[in-house]
Amino acid sequence: MSLKIVVLAKQVPDTRNVGKDAMTAEGTVNRSALPAIFNPEDLNALEQALRLKDRHPGSTVTILTMGPGRAASIIREGLFRGADGGYLLTDRAFAGADTLATSYALSMAIRKIKDYDIIIGGRQAIDGDTAQVGPQVAEKLGLTQITYAEEILNVDEAARRITVKRHIDGGVETVEGPLPIVVTVNGSAAPCRPRNAKLVQKYKYALTPTEKAQEAPAHPELYDQRPYLNLVEWSVADVEADLAQCGLSGSPTKVKTIQNIVFQAKESKTLSGSDADVEGLIVELLANHTIG
């Protein structure tokens, strides 16, 4: 007996290094202007998946990501760390999706994957911080969910039950739910294991069909000999998604305006860090009872 695990992962712009060109005039993210990374909490989710695979031999971990062509590097990163395969959901029609349209597209891809026990992803992505995609995917698939997971404590394959420790406001909770299920994982969960050198060797030439067409790989024969090097790419049509529910047209939320914020400058008093200046400030704050 073994588990089929799908990891939802997102390539995100590194919002820790944001420049002026980060947003387009339409208010969507200008991804090309920023370095792209594996969404941090999705790595925590991948680790939980890999731990289950360690404990349940024969299990498979599959990465599912949606994004532009270059998001395929997320799948390779997952393979380097122990995943078994991956799907890239990519189509111009997915562009501009809000969380609901994203969840719809992901849920259609998961329906196509068909055979799954656990769908796991990070609690939220650093480019939006909404934490909405996990629960919305669960709802679209008619599954229950366990969010804010800290650790998957146990999966009882015979009983088809999963036990998870999760954070709640002001505390922790241990809950038990049925398989299949959607789980979202916190950034405070165990960090992801590093790349494995053997797996890097094994998968470094793994490419999507688009990448193969663009890059003209040095060893084209490899892709017939080693089928695991062929990453799967799916379009709207491949997952039989309804165009009206994808991308901008499938997004109930619209960005009305984007404002660059200029703070209302106060008249401020500038001090140096000298003893006299610091003491002067402390004396002033004590005198006007700001501090006691």
């Binding site: 969010t147 809950v175 038990e176 009305k256 501090i291």
Partner: protein, 341 residues
């Protein structure tokens, strides 16, 4: 019976309504007044006799009570079914909930089931009009869901022109809690839970649960000493606890400091953390991204200590100390000790 009202989902710990829900009732009352509609509240849990007494004073015209053993502790499916089925009947125009663990578990699920838009972690909610430039369609009295977006510098106004309810989550402390009238009269409706929640929804079992009172009172502290990435290290950050101890203050942090592991997430100030309104805010090595400013800009007096004279936070500070935090903070401790008492 009126429809298309403003709804607030009241989060419960046992039979106590969470502060964030009372804050949203206060905001919801104002939105309802602006729209000329009613404010309705939902309370779902166990042992809720008299729960309306906590809710009505904030101006709720109707309180929907769902009282059944399986509804506390919260699990996703039963609470989702309550909201989805209630909303199908009542057709609210707006639904607000806390951006808490529960609100962020429940909100997206409800929005998916109803295909309605949801905006997370709003810092401001307003009513306004919209014209779609492409189609020329005019929309009146939409909910403007305003939130900082994307790494700083930007505030986005999100709308849901075509879908109802317009849903938003808001963090605790962002809106102000205010009793409208201690004797406010509203209707209390006790629903038959079984008509809303199928037995099959009770599939997740809570087998163990510990909730502790918060370790600190960051939200209510009159003085906050907050540190950013500029504190350099966890050891450097710990200096702030020394200063805070002297000043009887609480320690807060920017997201960058939390991400760097300098301190726990529960001390994070800003859009995705706590909102504070102390009388004195001392920002140490904080550059001041919009998400951080959103969580502290209503502080009385702001002191910024920073090496960088151009740090954005300096523009909203009353006092700017151009200097290194490692030097200035020990001096503050020293001169406080010398001059107090």
């Amino acid at each position: 019976m009126t429809m298309n009202n403003v709804f607030v989902y009241c989060e419960l710990e046992g039979a106590t309504v969470a502060d964030v829900s009372l804050e949203l009732l206060t905001k919801g009352r104002k939105l309802a007044n602006r729209l000329g509609c009613q404010l309705e509240a939902i309370a779902a849990g166990s042992g809720l006799d008299g729960i309306e007494k906590q809710i009505l004073p904030y101006g709720a015209d109707r309180v929907h009570v769902f009282d059944a053993p399986g509804l506390f502790p919260y699990t996703s499916l039963p609470h989702t079914s309550i909201l989805v089925n209630l909303f199908k009947a009542e057709k609210p125009q707006i639904c607000l909930m806390g951006a808490t663990v529960i609100g962020r578990d429940l909100g997206p699920r409800v929005s998916s089931a109803l295909t309605s838009g949801l905006t997370a972690d709003c810092t401001s909610l307003e009513i306004g009009d919209h014209e779609d430039k492409k189609s020329g369609t005019k929309y009146e009295n939409l909910l403007y869901q305003i939130r900082p977006a994307f790494g700083g510098n930007i505030v986005a106004t999100i709308i849901n022109p075509e879908h109802r309810p317009q849903m938003a989550t808001v963090r605790e402390g962002v809106m102000k809690k205010e009793v409208l009238d201690p004797n406010y009269q509203g209707e209390v409706i006790r629903h038959d839970v079984a008509k809303f929640v199928p037995e099959t929804d009770y599939v997740v079992k809570v087998i163990d649960r510990h909730v502790e009172k918060a370790k600190h009172n960051l939200k209510g502290s009159p003085i906050v000493v907050a540190g950013g990435y500029g504190m350099g290290s966890k050891e450097g950050f710990d200096l702030l606890f020394d200063l805070a101890k002297e000043l009887h203050a609480e320690v807060g942090a920017s997201r960058a400091a939390v991400d760097a592991g300098f301190c726990d997430h529960d001390r994070q100030i800003g859009q995705t953390g706590v909102t504070v309104r102390p009388k004195l805010y001392i920002a140490c090595g904080i550059s001041g991204q919009i998400q951080h400013i959103a969580g502290m800009q209503e502080s009385g007096i702001i002191i910024s200590i920073n090496n960088d004279p151009n740090a954005p936070i300096n523009t909203i500070a009353d006092y700017v100390i151009n200097g290194s935090v490692e030097e200035v903070i020990p001096k503050m401790i020293k001169y406080y000790k010398q001059n107090s008492k």
